[in-house]
Amino acid sequence: MSEKPVTGERRVFMTGNEVCAWAALAAEADIMYGYPITPQTDIMQYWTRLAPKFGRKFLQTEDEISAGFTTIGGVLAGKRAFSATTGPGNVLFQEPMSMAEMMRIPTVVIIPQRGGPSTATVIYSQQEVTMTAFGGNGEGFRIVYSTAGHQDLYDYTIKAFNTAWKYRFPTFVLGDGYQAKMREPLTIYDPAQRGIQMVKTEPLVGLEGTPGRDRPTQYLRNTYNTEEELYEVVMEIARDFEKAAPEIVEWQDFDTDKEMDVLILAHGVVSRSAQGALPLLREQGIRAGHFRPITLRPMPEEQMRRAAAKAKRILVVESAYGQLLKLVQQSLYGLAKPIDTLLRPGAGVTAEEIADQVKEGR
């Protein structure tokens, strides 16, 4: 029952949703809570098929609000708990995730983005960036990893549990419908054999002993009476978040070590198209680089600015109508660089289209 689901390393060829289920198993996740929605449902289906073999659990709830709150409940009980949702389901998740922000509850949620607004498509988009990073009635004290493919899905799903439990912020793995449904090769591995130790979990309620006598009192609150009280609490969370940010931020850059005619900014699966555009542009004598933020929250601002400073102009590419763009503008504020865009809400972007846009923008 308790044998390791993944031993050693092996190359596999599977869908992204299946990858997420394997990654959660390898990360020693105890329980998944969820409510079905395309293109996320297969994560639940793979998990329910695999989990019982390794003594893990699953609870299907009546909706996404409940899925979010039960995930919080699992974490409060000291379990490495996670969920997965997307689109309209992600909208409903915002209430529980605000609570997780306020009470510093290390939930992990996998989001294979679908098209929006509203029901829209069940296929693909990058339109849940703002919601995943800043949704709810809070300040966006969350950690968001934007994955670009199956190896990322495996690596960052495992990492999300550790980041969440180490820093105690709700953590998200932001994928998309393409990554969820497509098959491509990757290497799955036992985290321990790569030197990745899972951060120990512990219950946040129901602790032994009398509060105030045997142990410090646990204050798990999301309700406050005065402005001053709330202000203190939120500012403390803000300070913790700012302090942790430099340790959390992740990025990748490509050909950004020299002066560039253009720096292409893209995240997630679109980053792959940007990487594919670089050789196409090089053939045409255009010096192009690419910067990919892996964490969208916190954003690797300093690193992005450093790359952008070396470019004559910026091109922001995303499958949304300016959600990454806003974060980029915020990060690069004060840097006098023209910003061109290729915004394709709910639609994929190919390397060829990015290369064409660069040529047009010259």
Binding site: T38, I123, R183, E184, V269, R272, G348, T350, A351, E352
Partner: protein, 219 residues
């Protein structure tokens, strides 16, 4: 070398299975491969479409503008895949299913499609369904291969191996993956069923051979 493929047909024709077999055999061959099934609302009563890419290097974007190989197994599939065809594309279709208009007779087809149907309504006495159902093949393709896979499957083998015949033709015409790998992938997919019924294996291999015999040159 990168190979990009689009396969499309009606639900139940088995294009997703062929796509999956192609991608898995390429992966088994040690190549990089990506397979995206369509899974939109189209799945319910629409054209089923699959995107496959095979490369020696890591593949960038999962989607692509033009394909090296396009397989279309119904009239609607021809129309749905037209956007992926250019001067380098090998276009494979089932000529026992797709009612192709003469490529030279483009004008006829356009008139039938573009005219306002209300002004064109025929009296019941005139049956023009044959003409209306015709679809124009993408004339810009580098190669167009028509095979009567559906008829052969129905008359000579079994309707269920229709897609394997198509796969055979695709392999023969393009050599995109070695035949042995394809057989391994089929074995992996259907091994359980083969174990129970040996005749099934033979039927599938026969379909593969038949498909390969339908085209005699490498494009």
């Amino acid at each position: 070398m990168a190979i990009r493929m689009v396969l499309a047909g009606e639900g139940g024709q088995g294009v997703q299975i062929i796509a999956n077999i192609l991608a898995e055999s390429a992966n088994a061959e040690g190549k990089e491969a990506i397979y995206i099934p369509n899974f939109g609302v189209e799945q319910r009563g629409g054209v089923s479409i699959a995107f496959v890419q095979i490369d020696d290097q890591r593949i960038n974007s999962p989607k692509f503008p033009k394909a090296d190989i396009v397989v279309a197994l119904s009239n609607r599939a021809v129309n749905r895949t037209r956007q992926y065809v250019d001067g380098r594309t090998t276009f494979i279709y089932d000529n026992s299913l797709v009612a192709a208009a003469e490529i030279g007779a483009k004008v006829m087809g356009i008139q039938a499609v573009e005219a306002d149907p209300r002004s064109q309504r025929q009296t019941e006495a005139v049956d023009d369904s044959k003409k209306r159902d015709q679809v124009e093949l993408p004339g810009e393709a580098a190669n167009i291969i028509g095979i009567p896979a559906n008829d052969i499957a129905k008359n000579e083998l079994h309707p269920r191996v229709f897609n394997i015949i198509v796969l055979g033709t695709l392999l023969k015409a393009t050599e995109v993956v070695p035949l042995d790998r394809i057989k391994e992938a089929i074995e992996e997919k259907l091994g359980d069923k083969f174990a129970k019924n040996q005749a099934l294996r033979e039927l599938n291999y026969k379909a593969l051979d038949k498909g390969m015999s339908l085209v005699d040159r490498l494009v």
